[in-house]
């Protein structure tokens, strides 16, 4: 009697565990589809012919995949130029932010001076600063300085990349042992020499992380780019080009080409993110959780 009951509860427990497992993997599958499907859909759509693209109902898989959309996007001067502009802008922003941010991070992380805490708070507050709040004023500054669109984008993107860079690098410099700096100073190095030859090489991992995040943010930016290139269309970046994408001939929105463009600009970023995922996660969580 009792033996049978024990067996029954055991069987029930096993069944429960099996259903638990099944439900768990089902959840994983649902999440995976949710996270990846839109990108899959863009890729599949980019491989379809124009006729298949507008056929109803939509097909899940291209019947005869063609590369025509990719070819026409890569032959589109405006898009290729936008890729160049975006690369130039995003890399310049990244390098400048790292340069300016590293020296500031060194000062804030390793030196003692009046107003250190206040400076940190002011810079941190900047990360919350809405871009739209400076848009009109920034435009006035740029007109005053007579800056063309590309350098003005480079300068203005530092509004969101610089505070983050300073913040993360400060906490990184703080984490480096003081003895390093002291040893360098004992050896007769000035503060700047110690920075260049001793501390900076040690921050390489943090520089890679923050640099990647700054690059992605700059690559992504749309509000400033859209506004500053209104009078200078050749300086359009990738997001603006994709937002305003029109086909060469078709009057209808050329979604096949748009999806091809979407895939082209996303794949490098996805690869970059996947390669550096550990570091990116560390950087994001350091920037946010610590903030």
């Amino acid at each position: 009697m009792t033996g049978r009951r024990v067996a029954r509860t055991r069987r029930r427990r096993v069944a429960l565990r099996v259903t638990g497992r099944v439900l768990f993997w089902l959840l994983i599958a649902v999440l995976l589809v949710y996270l990846l499907f839109p990108f899959y859909w863009a890729l599949v759509s980019a491989l379809k012919t124009q006729t298949e693209l507008i056929r109803t109902p939509a097909t899940l898989w291209p019947e005869n995949p063609v590369l025509a959309n990719f070819r026409s996007v890569l032959g589109n001067d405006r898009f290729v130029r936008a890729l160049g502009v975006s690369t130039l802008v995003a890399s310049s922003v990244t390098l400048l932010s790292l340069l300016v941010g590293a020296v500031a991070g060194y000062a804030l992380g390793k030196m003692r001076f009046q107003g250190r805490g206040a400076s940190l708070y002011v810079i941190l507050a900047m990360t919350m600063f809405p871009q739209i709040a400076v848009l009109a004023g920034l435009y006035a500054v740029i007109r005053l300085l007579g800056m063309p669109a590309v350098p003005s984008m480079i300068l203005s993107y530092m509004l969101f990349t610089l505070p983050f860079t300073v913040w993360v690098l400060t906490s990184f410099f703080k984490g480096l042992p003081d003895s390093l700096l002291q040893a360098a100073q004992v050896d007769g190095a000035t503060l700047l020499q110690a920075f260049r030859h001793v501390l900076l090489p040690l921050t390489a991992p943090a520089l890679v992380t923050t640099g990647l995040l700054a690059f992605i943010q700059a690559w992504n930016e749309y509000l400033f780019a859209l506004t500053f290139t209104v009078i200078d269309p050749p300086a359009r970046t990738v997001p603006v080009a994709i937002a305003l994408f029109t086909g060469e001939i078709a009057r209808q929105e050329p979604f096949g080409e748009i999806m091809a463009a979407a895939v082209i600009v996303t794949i490098p970023l996805v690869l970059l993110v996947l390669i550096f995922q550990q570091r990116i996660v560390a950087g994001l969580t350091a920037g946010a959780v610590k903030g």
């Binding site: 768990f24 959840l27 996270l35 990846l36 000062a107 435009y139 700047l192 992504n220 749309y222 946010a288």
Partner: protein, 378 residues
């Protein structure tokens, strides 16, 4: 990153004063104070570029925006501008609530359609001069019907829409992000691959994701959702997600949730990693079920992380621009896309600046509320 040790201990040989210490009049050896002064001067020098850049791209432009919000400045024009005080703000906030009278037929009885009272159109009750008020929305209260009218109906609607968008999107992201984070925090094969997959939406450019979703939500069965809807017999496959006003916001929210959930999940995952597994183990031994363990142990310990994630996402979401501008253009605005459109399309720099200042204030208030209510010190 690593836990930085709190304020590095000053080396014994250099009794440096702390922040704001001043240290004037204290007897000090000449060499020491010279070193200190050198360190201080170097620090200021190193911080100079950062503050210079921030002054040029943040402080000065913001001052300029606040100033032009009080003028009738036109964008990209050489017209002389004049000071107009709070006129722009009055234009933005001029609102009125009027009661809508029911429609009456010749005999003076209310017109009924399907048993429901018909009301006069909003235009007939809203003031037309000196400024024209337009309808923002109608609502029923205590058996009467009212209309909210505003001079800048688009702006009032944009504020309302952005707040609704933010509240719903952030709530959904939090729930979904929590589910993903909890799933990923358990051990299973392929966890690394799953985490990599999670980063994909985050890596897609917002504008690109907007266009991908725009394509999936096409109003014909060439669009994925309409094809699915008609296949499952839910719709006729002609649902216009971006043309139909009631579906616009939900579509925007759906797009935003897909794109930003990974960020939320990442932060929560990092927070979960800091909770010692022994707590949950102990509770399990005591016979607490998974739900109880989550609400009694995991959630309270996760609160600081959750608070920071919520602040980041809420503030980010309140300044949403990309997806509204790309998908809805000037059909319907978010706060930021309204301000940008006023600046570029209407060239009304004064009004746009006033809207920008308002957005700034709204975001600031949200930040303050969060910090106060969650007692997080940022």
């Amino acid at each position: 990153m690593q836990d930085a040790p709190e304020a590095p201990t000053p080396p014994a040989a250099l009794p440096l004063d702390g922040e704001g210490g001043g240290g004037r009049g204290r007897p000090k050896k000449n060499g020491v104070s010279r070193l200190m002064r050198l360190e201080r001067r170097t620090a200021y020098l190193l911080l100079l570029p950062t503050f210079l850049v921030l002054a040029v791209i943040a402080a000065y432009p913001f001052g300029q925006v606040v100033y032009s919000s009080l003028t009738d400045a036109k964008f990209a024009s050489s017209q002389p501008t004049s000071f107009v005080g709070l006129d722009n703000y009055r234009t933005l906030f001029a609102m009125t609530i009027r009661r809508l009278p029911p429609k009456l037929d010749e005999s003076g009885a209310p017109v009924l359609v399907d048993g429901k009272v018909r009301y006069e159109s909003a235009v007939s009750v809203l003031p037309r001069s000196p400024r024209r008020y337009r309808q923002v929305f109608q609502f029923g209260l205590l058996g009467h019907r009212y209309v909210l009218g505003a001079v800048s109906a688009d702006f009032v609607r944009a504020v309302w829409d952005t707040v609704v968008f933010t509240v719903v999107a952030v709530a959904l992201e939090t729930i979904l992000g929590m589910i993903i984070a909890l799933t990923l925090s358990s051990e299973f094969r392929g966890r690394g691959a799953m985490r990599a997959a999670m980063l994909v939406p985050w890596a897609v450019i917002t504008v690109v994701s907007a266009r991908i979703w725009e394509w999936m939500l096409q109003p014909t069965r060439a669009g994925l959702f309409n094809a699915l809807g008609s296949y499952l017999g839910l719709s006729e496959g002609r649902t216009d997600f971006f043309g139909n006003p009631t579906l616009q916001l939900p579509s925007m929210i759906m797009m935003d949730v897909w794109k930003t959930t990974p960020f939320m999940a990442l932060l929560l995952l990092a927070g979960l990693a800091t909770i010692p597994a022994e707590y949950a183990e102990a509770a399990k031994v005591d016979g607490a079920g998974p739900l109880r363990r989550f609400f009694r142990i995991t959630l309270p310990l996760l609160t600081p992380t959750l608070a920071v994630a919520l602040i980041f996402r809420t503030l980010d979401s309140l300044r949403v621009f990309d997806i509204f501008q790309v998908v809805l253009g000037n059909q319907r605005y978010s706060m930021a896309s309204f301000a940008q459109d006023m600046l570029i399309s209407r060239r009304d720099m004064g009004l746009s600046s006033a809207a920008s200042v308002t957005i700034f204030v709204i975001i600031f208030v949200f930040a303050l509320l969060y910090v106060r209510s969650m007692k997080v010190d940022t």
